[in-house]
Protein backbone atom coordinates (compact mmCIF):
# COMPACT_ATOMS: atom_id res chain seq x y z
CA UNK A 1 0.00 0.00 0.00
CA UNK A 2 1.49 3.33 -0.98
CA UNK A 3 1.19 5.96 1.68
CA UNK A 4 -0.70 9.10 0.84
CA UNK A 5 1.17 12.36 1.21
CA UNK A 6 -0.77 15.21 2.79
CA UNK A 7 1.80 17.96 2.95
CA UNK A 8 4.99 18.21 0.96
CA UNK A 9 7.69 20.85 1.06
CA UNK A 10 10.20 20.92 -1.80
CA UNK A 11 13.31 23.05 -1.25
CA UNK A 12 11.31 25.73 0.47
CA UNK A 13 13.16 28.92 1.33
CA UNK A 14 12.03 32.03 3.16
CA UNK A 15 14.07 35.19 2.95
CA UNK A 16 13.65 38.28 5.07
CA UNK A 17 15.82 40.77 3.26
CA UNK A 18 19.14 38.97 2.96
CA UNK A 19 18.43 36.56 5.81
CA UNK A 20 17.51 33.02 4.95
CA UNK A 21 15.16 32.20 7.78
CA UNK A 22 14.18 28.91 6.23
CA UNK A 23 16.78 27.38 3.96
CA UNK A 24 15.91 24.78 1.31
CA UNK A 25 13.72 22.72 3.59
CA UNK A 26 12.15 19.59 2.13
CA UNK A 27 10.00 17.00 3.83
CA UNK A 28 6.79 15.08 3.30
CA UNK A 29 4.09 14.50 5.85
CA UNK A 30 2.09 11.35 5.33
CA UNK A 31 -1.63 11.23 5.79
CA UNK A 32 -2.55 10.49 9.38
CA UNK A 33 0.86 11.00 10.96
CA UNK A 34 1.98 13.45 13.60
CA UNK A 35 5.00 15.26 12.23
CA UNK A 36 6.90 17.33 14.78
CA UNK A 37 9.14 20.26 13.91
CA UNK A 38 11.52 21.10 16.72
CA UNK A 39 14.47 23.35 17.26
CA UNK A 40 15.85 26.18 19.37
CA UNK A 41 13.84 29.39 19.36
CA UNK A 42 14.29 31.47 16.24
CA UNK A 43 15.32 28.46 14.17
CA UNK A 44 12.51 28.92 11.65
CA UNK A 45 10.21 26.11 12.75
CA UNK A 46 7.19 28.36 13.24
CA UNK A 47 7.90 30.14 9.98
CA UNK A 48 7.97 26.76 8.24
CA UNK A 49 4.61 25.87 9.78
CA UNK A 50 3.02 29.17 8.81
CA UNK A 51 4.13 28.80 5.24
CA UNK A 52 1.99 25.69 4.94
CA UNK A 53 -1.21 27.71 5.35
CA UNK A 54 0.45 30.72 3.75
CA UNK A 55 0.19 33.00 6.77
CA UNK A 56 3.75 33.64 5.69
CA UNK A 57 4.34 33.40 1.93
CA UNK A 58 7.43 31.43 0.95
CA UNK A 59 10.17 32.97 -1.18
CA UNK A 60 11.05 29.96 -3.30
CA UNK A 61 10.39 26.24 -3.57
CA UNK A 62 7.09 24.41 -3.67
CA UNK A 63 4.58 23.65 -0.97
CA UNK A 64 1.99 21.02 -1.83
CA UNK A 65 -1.11 20.39 0.24
CA UNK A 66 -2.95 17.24 -0.78
CA UNK A 67 -0.99 17.32 -4.02
CA UNK A 68 -1.85 20.88 -5.04
CA UNK A 69 0.62 23.74 -5.00
CA UNK A 70 -0.57 26.23 -2.37
CA UNK A 71 0.14 29.18 -4.63
CA UNK A 72 -2.53 27.90 -7.00
CA UNK A 73 -5.13 27.88 -4.24
CA UNK A 74 -7.14 30.75 -2.81
CA UNK A 75 -5.42 31.47 0.52
CA UNK A 76 -8.70 31.94 2.36
CA UNK A 77 -10.01 28.58 1.12
CA UNK A 78 -6.68 26.94 1.88
CA UNK A 79 -6.72 28.18 5.48
CA UNK A 80 -10.31 27.13 5.97
CA UNK A 81 -9.39 23.61 4.91
CA UNK A 82 -6.57 23.39 7.45
CA UNK A 83 -7.07 23.46 11.22
CA UNK A 84 -4.81 25.88 13.06
CA UNK A 85 -4.00 25.79 16.76
CA UNK A 86 -1.81 28.32 18.51
CA UNK A 87 -1.15 29.12 22.15
CA UNK A 88 -4.40 29.87 23.97
CA UNK A 89 -4.23 33.59 23.39
CA UNK A 90 -5.74 32.82 20.00
CA UNK A 91 -9.25 32.44 21.40
CA UNK A 92 -11.34 35.49 20.61
CA UNK A 93 -12.14 37.11 23.97
CA UNK A 94 -15.36 38.80 22.84
CA UNK A 95 -16.95 35.55 21.75
CA UNK A 96 -18.37 32.74 23.84
CA UNK A 97 -16.76 29.33 23.70
CA UNK A 98 -19.47 28.15 21.34
CA UNK A 99 -18.89 31.09 19.00
CA UNK A 100 -15.16 30.51 19.19
CA UNK A 101 -15.48 26.86 18.24
CA UNK A 102 -17.90 27.66 15.42
CA UNK A 103 -15.86 30.62 14.15
CA UNK A 104 -14.75 28.92 10.96
CA UNK A 105 -18.31 27.70 10.34
CA UNK A 106 -19.57 31.24 10.80
CA UNK A 107 -17.03 32.48 8.25
CA UNK A 108 -18.33 29.94 5.78
CA UNK A 109 -21.95 30.86 6.52
CA UNK A 110 -23.20 27.69 8.17
CA UNK A 111 -26.63 27.97 9.80
CA UNK A 112 -26.81 28.88 13.49
CA UNK A 113 -28.24 25.46 14.22
CA UNK A 114 -25.42 23.65 12.46
CA UNK A 115 -22.88 25.80 14.32
CA UNK A 116 -24.44 24.96 17.65
CA UNK A 117 -24.63 21.25 16.92
CA UNK A 118 -21.03 21.09 15.79
CA UNK A 119 -19.86 23.04 18.84
CA UNK A 120 -21.77 20.69 21.14
CA UNK A 121 -20.27 17.68 19.44
CA UNK A 122 -16.72 19.04 19.59
CA UNK A 123 -16.80 20.30 23.16
CA UNK A 124 -17.36 16.72 24.22
CA UNK A 125 -14.73 15.38 21.86
CA UNK A 126 -12.11 17.46 23.65
CA UNK A 127 -13.38 16.48 27.08
CA UNK A 128 -15.20 19.61 28.22
CA UNK A 129 -18.80 20.01 29.28
CA UNK A 130 -21.72 21.49 27.39
CA UNK A 131 -22.10 24.13 30.09
CA UNK A 132 -18.75 25.58 29.00
CA UNK A 133 -20.23 26.64 25.67
CA UNK A 134 -21.86 29.77 27.06
CA UNK A 135 -18.81 30.94 28.95
CA UNK A 136 -16.14 33.34 27.79
CA UNK A 137 -12.50 32.35 27.26
CA UNK A 138 -11.22 34.26 30.30
CA UNK A 139 -13.53 32.21 32.53
CA UNK A 140 -11.71 29.02 31.57
CA UNK A 141 -8.37 27.72 32.79
CA UNK A 142 -5.39 27.61 30.45
CA UNK A 143 -5.81 23.90 29.85
CA UNK A 144 -9.50 24.27 29.11
CA UNK A 145 -8.85 27.14 26.72
CA UNK A 146 -6.33 25.02 24.92
CA UNK A 147 -8.87 22.23 24.52
CA UNK A 148 -11.25 24.78 23.03
CA UNK A 149 -8.45 25.75 20.66
CA UNK A 150 -8.24 22.15 19.47
CA UNK A 151 -12.02 21.89 19.16
CA UNK A 152 -12.06 25.08 17.12
CA UNK A 153 -9.43 23.74 14.75
CA UNK A 154 -11.50 20.62 14.22
CA UNK A 155 -14.75 22.52 13.54
CA UNK A 156 -14.67 22.43 9.76
CA UNK A 157 -13.44 18.84 9.89
CA UNK A 158 -10.11 19.50 8.17
CA UNK A 159 -7.79 16.63 7.20
CA UNK A 160 -4.74 18.60 8.25
CA UNK A 161 -4.03 20.33 11.56
CA UNK A 162 -1.21 22.78 12.15
CA UNK A 163 -0.30 23.14 15.81
CA UNK A 164 2.12 25.86 16.84
CA UNK A 165 3.38 25.13 20.36
CA UNK A 166 -0.18 24.41 21.36
CA UNK A 167 0.71 23.39 24.90
CA UNK A 168 3.41 26.00 25.47
CA UNK A 169 1.38 28.22 27.76
CA UNK A 170 0.07 25.69 30.27
CA UNK A 171 1.64 24.22 33.39
CA UNK A 172 3.61 20.95 33.06
CA UNK A 173 0.93 18.80 34.64
CA UNK A 174 -1.82 20.09 32.35
CA UNK A 175 0.55 19.85 29.42
CA UNK A 176 1.08 16.16 30.04
CA UNK A 177 -2.65 15.63 30.29
CA UNK A 178 -3.27 17.54 27.05
CA UNK A 179 -0.58 15.52 25.30
CA UNK A 180 -2.23 12.29 26.41
CA UNK A 181 -5.58 13.57 25.23
CA UNK A 182 -4.16 14.57 21.88
CA UNK A 183 -2.65 11.11 21.40
CA UNK A 184 -5.94 9.50 22.34
CA UNK A 185 -7.93 11.87 20.13
CA UNK A 186 -5.62 11.18 17.23
CA UNK A 187 -6.38 7.46 17.59
CA UNK A 188 -9.94 8.18 16.59
CA UNK A 189 -9.65 11.15 14.23
CA UNK A 190 -6.49 10.20 12.30
CA UNK A 191 -5.68 13.73 11.18
CA UNK A 192 -2.45 14.73 9.55
CA UNK A 193 -0.81 16.91 12.17
CA UNK A 194 2.18 19.20 11.79
CA UNK A 195 3.23 20.08 15.32
CA UNK A 196 5.77 22.70 16.34
CA UNK A 197 7.41 22.56 19.76
CA UNK A 198 10.69 23.37 21.46
CA UNK A 199 10.23 20.60 24.01
CA UNK A 200 12.05 17.43 22.96
CA UNK A 201 10.07 15.26 25.36
CA UNK A 202 6.85 16.53 23.87
CA UNK A 203 8.25 15.75 20.43
CA UNK A 204 9.14 12.18 21.44
CA UNK A 205 5.75 11.74 23.00
CA UNK A 206 3.38 12.95 20.31
CA UNK A 207 5.49 12.61 17.17
CA UNK A 208 5.49 9.72 14.74
CA UNK A 209 8.36 11.49 13.04
CA UNK A 210 10.45 14.41 14.14
CA UNK A 211 12.32 17.00 12.12
CA UNK A 212 15.02 19.00 13.89
CA UNK A 213 15.63 22.47 12.49
CA UNK A 214 18.66 24.63 13.17
CA UNK A 215 19.12 28.09 11.68
CA UNK A 216 16.58 27.39 8.99
CA UNK A 217 18.09 24.07 7.94
CA UNK A 218 16.39 20.74 8.49
CA UNK A 219 19.25 18.92 10.22
CA UNK A 220 17.70 15.59 10.97
CA UNK A 221 14.50 13.77 10.22
CA UNK A 222 13.25 10.47 11.54
CA UNK A 223 11.26 8.52 14.10
CA UNK A 224 11.99 9.22 17.76
CA UNK A 225 14.25 6.17 17.91
CA UNK A 226 16.14 7.21 14.79
CA UNK A 227 16.63 10.66 16.26
CA UNK A 228 17.93 9.24 19.51
CA UNK A 229 20.45 7.09 17.68
CA UNK A 230 21.64 9.93 15.46
CA UNK A 231 25.41 10.39 15.31
CA UNK A 232 25.08 14.08 14.45
CA UNK A 233 26.77 16.26 17.07
CA UNK A 234 24.15 19.00 16.98
CA UNK A 235 21.32 16.51 17.32
CA UNK A 236 23.14 14.81 20.19
CA UNK A 237 23.64 18.04 22.05
CA UNK A 238 20.11 19.20 21.30
CA UNK A 239 18.33 16.15 22.60
CA UNK A 240 20.74 15.84 25.49
CA UNK A 241 22.33 13.01 27.42
CA UNK A 242 20.24 10.03 28.27
CA UNK A 243 17.73 10.77 25.56
CA UNK A 244 17.31 7.08 24.94
CA UNK A 245 15.78 6.63 28.36
CA UNK A 246 13.75 9.78 27.91
CA UNK A 247 12.23 8.27 24.82
CA UNK A 248 11.20 5.23 26.80
CA UNK A 249 9.88 7.50 29.48
CA UNK A 250 7.78 9.61 27.11
CA UNK A 251 6.54 7.39 24.31
CA UNK A 252 3.18 5.98 25.38
CA UNK A 253 2.53 2.26 25.11
CA UNK A 254 -0.30 3.00 22.70
CA UNK A 255 2.43 3.45 20.05
CA UNK A 256 3.47 -0.21 20.25
CA UNK A 257 0.09 -1.57 21.21
CA UNK A 258 -0.86 -4.83 19.52
CA UNK A 259 -4.52 -4.47 18.77
CA UNK A 260 -4.89 -7.46 16.51
CA UNK A 261 -4.92 -10.08 19.24
CA UNK A 262 -7.12 -13.17 18.93
CA UNK A 263 -10.42 -12.58 20.67
CA UNK A 264 -13.39 -14.74 21.49
CA UNK A 265 -16.78 -13.67 22.85
CA UNK A 266 -17.69 -15.47 26.02
CA UNK A 267 -20.14 -18.33 25.40
CA UNK A 268 -18.72 -18.77 21.92
CA UNK A 269 -16.15 -21.34 21.00
CA UNK A 270 -12.75 -20.56 19.59
CA UNK A 271 -12.45 -20.92 15.84
CA UNK A 272 -9.37 -23.12 15.68
CA UNK A 273 -9.15 -22.74 11.91
CA UNK A 274 -8.31 -19.04 12.31
CA UNK A 275 -4.90 -18.35 10.77
CA UNK A 276 -4.21 -15.68 13.38
CA UNK A 277 -3.96 -18.24 16.18
CA UNK A 278 -0.71 -19.63 14.82
CA UNK A 279 1.30 -16.73 16.20
CA UNK A 280 -0.34 -16.68 19.61
CA UNK A 281 -0.40 -18.69 22.80
CA UNK A 282 -3.49 -17.16 24.29
CA UNK A 283 -6.99 -16.16 23.28
CA UNK A 284 -8.70 -13.27 25.04
CA UNK A 285 -12.29 -13.63 26.21
CA UNK A 286 -14.39 -10.51 25.69
CA UNK A 287 -17.74 -9.93 27.42
CA UNK A 288 -20.70 -8.31 25.73
CA UNK A 289 -19.79 -4.99 27.40
CA UNK A 290 -16.38 -4.91 25.68
CA UNK A 291 -14.54 -5.73 28.89
CA UNK A 292 -12.03 -8.51 28.92
CA UNK A 293 -12.96 -11.45 31.16
CA UNK A 294 -9.54 -13.03 30.99
CA UNK A 295 -7.57 -15.28 28.69
CA UNK A 296 -7.25 -18.98 27.87
CA UNK A 297 -4.11 -20.80 26.82
CA UNK A 298 -4.62 -22.36 23.42
CA UNK A 299 -3.23 -25.61 24.82
CA UNK A 300 -6.07 -25.73 27.37
CA UNK A 301 -8.78 -25.72 24.71
CA UNK A 302 -10.75 -28.81 23.79
CA UNK A 303 -10.26 -30.04 20.24
CA UNK A 304 -13.48 -28.40 19.04
CA UNK A 305 -12.46 -25.08 20.51
CA UNK A 306 -14.76 -25.13 23.55
CA UNK A 307 -13.60 -24.32 27.03
CA UNK A 308 -15.00 -24.13 30.50
CA UNK A 309 -15.15 -20.96 32.54
CA UNK A 310 -12.64 -22.12 35.11
CA UNK A 311 -10.06 -22.47 32.35
CA UNK A 312 -10.28 -18.71 31.80
CA UNK A 313 -7.44 -17.11 33.67
CA UNK A 314 -7.96 -13.60 35.01
CA UNK A 315 -5.94 -10.82 33.40
CA UNK A 316 -2.72 -9.83 35.11
CA UNK A 317 -2.33 -6.22 36.18
CA UNK A 318 -3.67 -4.02 33.41
CA UNK A 319 -2.14 -0.78 32.17
CA UNK A 320 -3.59 2.33 30.56
CA UNK A 321 -2.61 3.23 26.97
CA UNK A 322 -1.26 6.59 28.21
CA UNK A 323 1.52 5.23 30.39
CA UNK A 324 5.08 5.29 29.13
CA UNK A 325 6.92 2.30 27.76
CA UNK A 326 9.38 2.61 30.64
CA UNK A 327 6.60 2.11 33.18
CA UNK A 328 5.22 -0.80 31.20
CA UNK A 329 8.63 -2.49 31.13
CA UNK A 330 9.04 -1.91 34.84
CA UNK A 331 5.65 -3.45 35.41
CA UNK A 332 6.60 -6.50 33.35
CA UNK A 333 9.91 -6.92 35.15
CA UNK A 334 8.30 -6.71 38.59
CA UNK A 335 5.46 -9.01 37.62
CA UNK A 336 7.71 -11.43 35.76
CA UNK A 337 5.57 -11.30 32.63
CA UNK A 338 6.35 -10.93 28.96
CA UNK A 339 3.17 -9.04 28.11
CA UNK A 340 0.55 -6.82 29.71
CA UNK A 341 -3.07 -6.17 28.77
CA UNK A 342 -3.96 -2.57 27.95
CA UNK A 343 -7.30 -1.27 29.13
CA UNK A 344 -8.64 2.27 28.71
CA UNK A 345 -10.47 4.47 31.23
CA UNK A 346 -13.80 2.87 30.41
CA UNK A 347 -12.18 -0.52 31.17
CA UNK A 348 -12.60 -1.63 27.58
CA UNK A 349 -9.87 -3.94 26.30
CA UNK A 350 -7.48 -2.32 23.81
CA UNK A 351 -4.89 -5.01 23.17
CA UNK A 352 -1.61 -6.05 24.69
CA UNK A 353 1.91 -4.73 24.95
CA UNK A 354 4.67 -7.27 24.57
CA UNK A 355 8.14 -7.05 26.02
CA UNK A 356 9.67 -7.89 22.67
CA UNK A 357 7.92 -4.88 21.10
CA UNK A 358 9.42 -2.64 23.78
CA UNK A 359 12.84 -4.11 23.22
CA UNK A 360 12.26 -3.92 19.48
CA UNK A 361 12.35 -0.13 19.71
CA UNK A 362 16.04 -0.42 20.48
CA UNK A 363 16.65 -2.42 17.36
CA UNK A 364 18.42 -0.30 14.73
CA UNK A 365 16.71 -1.83 11.75
CA UNK A 366 13.28 -2.59 13.12
CA UNK A 367 10.69 0.15 13.49
Amino acid sequence: MTREVSVELQNVTKMYGQDKVVNEVSFTVEKGEVFVLIGPSGCGKTTTLKMINQLIPHTSGNILVNGTDVTELDVVELRRSIGYVIQYIGLLPHLTIQENIAFVLKLTKYTKKAQKERAEELIETVGLELSHLNRYPRELSGGQQQRVGVARALAANPDILLMDEPFGAVDPLTREQLQNELIRLQESIHKTIVFVTHDIQEAFKVGNRIGIIREGILECLGTPMEIVKSEDDFVKSFIGQGALFEVFDTIPVSRILEKDVPLVRDNEKVDLADEKLKDWENVFVIGSDGNCRGYICLSDLEKDGTYTLDQVQPLPKTISPDISIKLAVEEMLWGGRTWLPVVDDHSSFKGIVQFRACAGLLDMEGR
Binding site: V76, E77, R79, I86, G90, L91, H94, L107, Y136
Partner: protein
Protein backbone atom coordinates in the same frame (compact mmCIF):
# COMPACT_ATOMS: atom_id res chain seq x y z
CA UNK B 1 -27.43 83.56 46.97
CA UNK B 2 -30.71 81.95 47.92
CA UNK B 3 -32.43 84.83 46.21
CA UNK B 4 -30.54 84.19 43.04
CA UNK B 5 -31.38 80.54 42.99
CA UNK B 6 -35.01 81.13 43.72
CA UNK B 7 -35.18 83.69 40.92
CA UNK B 8 -33.66 81.13 38.58
CA UNK B 9 -36.16 78.53 39.74
CA UNK B 10 -39.00 81.00 39.26
CA UNK B 11 -37.84 81.71 35.73
CA UNK B 12 -37.57 78.02 35.03
CA UNK B 13 -41.11 77.35 36.25
CA UNK B 14 -42.62 80.32 34.43
CA UNK B 15 -40.87 79.70 31.13
CA UNK B 16 -40.94 75.92 31.03
CA UNK B 17 -42.00 75.97 27.39
CA UNK B 18 -38.93 77.98 26.38
CA UNK B 19 -36.62 75.91 28.57
CA UNK B 20 -37.76 72.66 26.97
CA UNK B 21 -37.55 74.18 23.52
CA UNK B 22 -33.89 75.14 23.97
CA UNK B 23 -33.17 71.80 25.56
CA UNK B 24 -34.66 70.05 22.55
CA UNK B 25 -32.61 72.20 20.15
CA UNK B 26 -29.51 71.53 22.17
CA UNK B 27 -29.98 67.77 22.34
CA UNK B 28 -30.82 67.51 18.64
CA UNK B 29 -27.77 69.55 17.72
CA UNK B 30 -25.53 67.34 19.83
CA UNK B 31 -27.07 64.09 18.62
CA UNK B 32 -26.78 65.02 14.96
CA UNK B 33 -23.25 66.30 15.36
CA UNK B 34 -22.24 63.14 17.22
CA UNK B 35 -23.93 61.04 14.57
CA UNK B 36 -21.93 62.73 11.81
CA UNK B 37 -18.76 62.56 13.90
CA UNK B 38 -19.19 58.79 14.15
CA UNK B 39 -20.08 58.38 10.48
CA UNK B 40 -16.96 60.27 9.44
CA UNK B 41 -14.60 59.61 12.32
CA UNK B 42 -14.85 55.84 12.83
CA UNK B 43 -14.22 54.85 9.19
CA UNK B 44 -11.49 57.45 8.98
CA UNK B 45 -9.84 56.12 12.13
CA UNK B 46 -10.06 52.55 10.86
CA UNK B 47 -8.69 53.55 7.48
CA UNK B 48 -5.65 55.28 8.96
CA UNK B 49 -5.01 52.34 11.29
CA UNK B 50 -4.27 50.31 8.15
CA UNK B 51 -2.06 52.83 6.37
CA UNK B 52 0.73 54.31 8.39
CA UNK B 53 1.49 57.06 5.86
CA UNK B 54 -1.98 58.57 6.10
CA UNK B 55 -2.02 58.27 9.87
CA UNK B 56 0.25 61.19 10.70
CA UNK B 57 -1.39 63.47 8.15
CA UNK B 58 -4.93 62.75 9.28
CA UNK B 59 -4.22 62.76 13.02
CA UNK B 60 -2.17 65.94 12.59
CA UNK B 61 -5.00 67.63 10.72
CA UNK B 62 -7.74 66.72 13.18
CA UNK B 63 -5.48 67.80 16.06
CA UNK B 64 -5.00 71.20 14.45
CA UNK B 65 -8.72 71.56 13.86
CA UNK B 66 -9.28 70.65 17.50
CA UNK B 67 -7.01 73.43 18.75
CA UNK B 68 -8.80 76.20 16.84
CA UNK B 69 -10.71 78.35 19.36
CA UNK B 70 -14.42 78.00 18.77
CA UNK B 71 -14.99 81.70 18.07
CA UNK B 72 -12.25 81.64 15.46
CA UNK B 73 -13.85 78.59 13.89
CA UNK B 74 -17.15 80.44 13.71
CA UNK B 75 -15.25 83.25 12.02
CA UNK B 76 -14.28 80.76 9.29
CA UNK B 77 -17.67 79.13 9.03
CA UNK B 78 -19.93 82.18 8.83
CA UNK B 79 -18.54 83.50 5.52
CA UNK B 80 -18.71 79.99 4.04
CA UNK B 81 -21.87 78.51 5.46
CA UNK B 82 -23.71 81.54 6.79
CA UNK B 83 -25.46 81.68 10.11
CA UNK B 84 -27.62 78.89 11.43
CA UNK B 85 -27.67 75.42 12.87
CA UNK B 86 -25.77 73.88 9.91
CA UNK B 87 -22.71 75.94 10.75
CA UNK B 88 -23.04 75.00 14.41
CA UNK B 89 -23.34 71.38 13.41
CA UNK B 90 -20.20 71.53 11.30
CA UNK B 91 -18.27 73.19 14.11
CA UNK B 92 -19.24 70.48 16.57
CA UNK B 93 -18.42 67.68 14.10
CA UNK B 94 -14.96 69.21 13.62
CA UNK B 95 -14.32 69.22 17.38
CA UNK B 96 -15.67 65.73 17.88
CA UNK B 97 -13.46 64.23 15.19
CA UNK B 98 -10.21 64.14 17.17
CA UNK B 99 -11.25 61.79 19.98
CA UNK B 100 -13.27 59.55 17.65
CA UNK B 101 -10.64 59.28 14.90
CA UNK B 102 -7.79 58.82 17.35
CA UNK B 103 -9.56 56.21 19.46
CA UNK B 104 -10.78 54.27 16.43
CA UNK B 105 -7.25 54.15 15.10
CA UNK B 106 -5.70 53.20 18.44
CA UNK B 107 -8.43 50.65 19.12
CA UNK B 108 -7.81 48.81 15.88
CA UNK B 109 -4.02 48.93 16.06
CA UNK B 110 -3.93 47.59 19.60
CA UNK B 111 -5.82 44.39 18.76
CA UNK B 112 -3.36 41.65 19.66
CA UNK B 113 -1.48 40.50 16.52
CA UNK B 114 -1.81 36.88 17.61
CA UNK B 115 -5.58 37.18 17.67
CA UNK B 116 -5.55 38.59 14.17
CA UNK B 117 -3.21 35.89 13.03
CA UNK B 118 -5.31 33.12 14.50
CA UNK B 119 -8.40 34.54 12.78
CA UNK B 120 -6.54 34.77 9.50
CA UNK B 121 -5.19 31.28 10.05
CA UNK B 122 -8.75 30.05 10.31
CA UNK B 123 -9.53 31.58 6.96
CA UNK B 124 -11.06 34.97 7.77
CA UNK B 125 -10.79 37.32 4.79
CA UNK B 126 -9.98 41.00 5.28
CA UNK B 127 -13.60 42.08 5.71
CA UNK B 128 -14.36 39.27 8.14
CA UNK B 129 -11.21 40.07 10.08
CA UNK B 130 -12.31 43.70 10.34
CA UNK B 131 -15.96 43.17 11.23
CA UNK B 132 -15.78 39.98 13.26
CA UNK B 133 -12.51 40.49 15.09
CA UNK B 134 -10.95 43.95 14.91
CA UNK B 135 -13.99 46.21 15.32
CA UNK B 136 -15.58 44.14 18.10
CA UNK B 137 -12.29 44.04 19.98
CA UNK B 138 -11.62 47.74 19.41
CA UNK B 139 -15.18 48.67 20.34
CA UNK B 140 -14.53 49.66 23.98
CA UNK B 141 -11.78 52.07 22.89
CA UNK B 142 -13.87 53.42 20.01
CA UNK B 143 -16.79 53.91 22.36
CA UNK B 144 -14.60 55.79 24.84
CA UNK B 145 -13.75 58.21 22.02
CA UNK B 146 -17.41 58.65 21.14
CA UNK B 147 -18.18 59.26 24.80
CA UNK B 148 -15.57 62.02 24.98
CA UNK B 149 -16.90 63.63 21.80
CA UNK B 150 -20.50 63.44 22.97
CA UNK B 151 -19.93 65.01 26.37
CA UNK B 152 -17.55 67.61 24.98
CA UNK B 153 -19.99 68.58 22.22
CA UNK B 154 -22.81 68.83 24.71
CA UNK B 155 -21.03 71.53 26.62
CA UNK B 156 -19.57 73.13 23.47
CA UNK B 157 -23.05 73.35 21.94
CA UNK B 158 -23.73 76.14 24.41
CA UNK B 159 -21.66 78.35 22.09
CA UNK B 160 -23.89 77.55 19.15
CA UNK B 161 -25.90 80.61 20.03
CA UNK B 162 -23.08 82.79 18.67
CA UNK B 163 -23.66 81.40 15.23
CA UNK B 164 -27.43 81.24 15.42
CA UNK B 165 -27.49 77.55 16.13
CA UNK B 166 -29.87 77.72 19.07
CA UNK B 167 -29.57 75.54 22.14
CA UNK B 168 -29.34 76.32 25.83
CA UNK B 169 -26.80 79.05 25.18
CA UNK B 170 -29.72 81.15 24.00
CA UNK B 171 -31.10 81.47 27.53
CA UNK B 172 -27.73 82.40 29.00
CA UNK B 173 -26.95 84.95 26.30
CA UNK B 174 -30.36 86.53 26.49
CA UNK B 175 -30.10 86.67 30.28
CA UNK B 176 -26.74 88.43 30.06
CA UNK B 177 -27.94 90.90 27.42
CA UNK B 178 -31.11 91.83 29.29
CA UNK B 179 -29.47 91.82 32.74
CA UNK B 180 -31.99 89.15 33.71
CA UNK B 181 -30.00 87.29 36.37
CA UNK B 182 -32.73 84.73 36.96
CA UNK B 183 -32.84 83.85 33.27
CA UNK B 184 -29.04 83.66 32.96
CA UNK B 185 -28.70 81.51 36.04
CA UNK B 186 -31.53 79.23 34.97
CA UNK B 187 -29.67 78.68 31.68
CA UNK B 188 -26.36 78.05 33.40
CA UNK B 189 -27.80 75.62 35.92
CA UNK B 190 -29.62 73.75 33.21
CA UNK B 191 -26.45 73.38 31.14
CA UNK B 192 -24.47 72.21 34.16
CA UNK B 193 -27.08 69.78 35.39
CA UNK B 194 -27.83 68.24 31.99
CA UNK B 195 -24.12 67.93 31.19
CA UNK B 196 -23.42 66.16 34.47
CA UNK B 197 -26.44 63.94 33.92
CA UNK B 198 -25.31 63.05 30.39
CA UNK B 199 -21.77 62.41 31.59
CA UNK B 200 -23.11 60.02 34.22
CA UNK B 201 -25.41 58.29 31.77
CA UNK B 202 -22.74 57.55 29.16
CA UNK B 203 -20.41 56.67 32.01
CA UNK B 204 -22.76 53.90 33.07
CA UNK B 205 -23.05 52.62 29.50
CA UNK B 206 -19.29 52.82 29.09
CA UNK B 207 -18.72 50.89 32.32
CA UNK B 208 -21.07 48.18 31.14
CA UNK B 209 -19.20 47.90 27.87
CA UNK B 210 -15.79 47.90 29.52
CA UNK B 211 -16.97 45.27 31.97
CA UNK B 212 -18.33 43.08 29.20
CA UNK B 213 -15.10 43.46 27.28
CA UNK B 214 -12.73 43.06 30.18
CA UNK B 215 -12.97 39.43 29.15
CA UNK B 216 -10.30 40.50 26.75
CA UNK B 217 -6.96 39.95 28.45
Amino acid sequence: MIELISSAWEYFINRQDLMFEVLREHVLLVLWSTFFTIIIGVPLGIAISKTEKLRDIVLGSVSILYTIPILALFGFLIPMMGIGSTSALIALVIYGLLPVVRNSCVGITQVHPQLKESARGMGANNMQLLFKVEIPLAFPVIFAGIRTALVMNFSLATYAVFIGGGGMGRIIMQGIRTFNTGMMLAGILMVVITTVFLERLVGVVDNRIQKHYSLSD
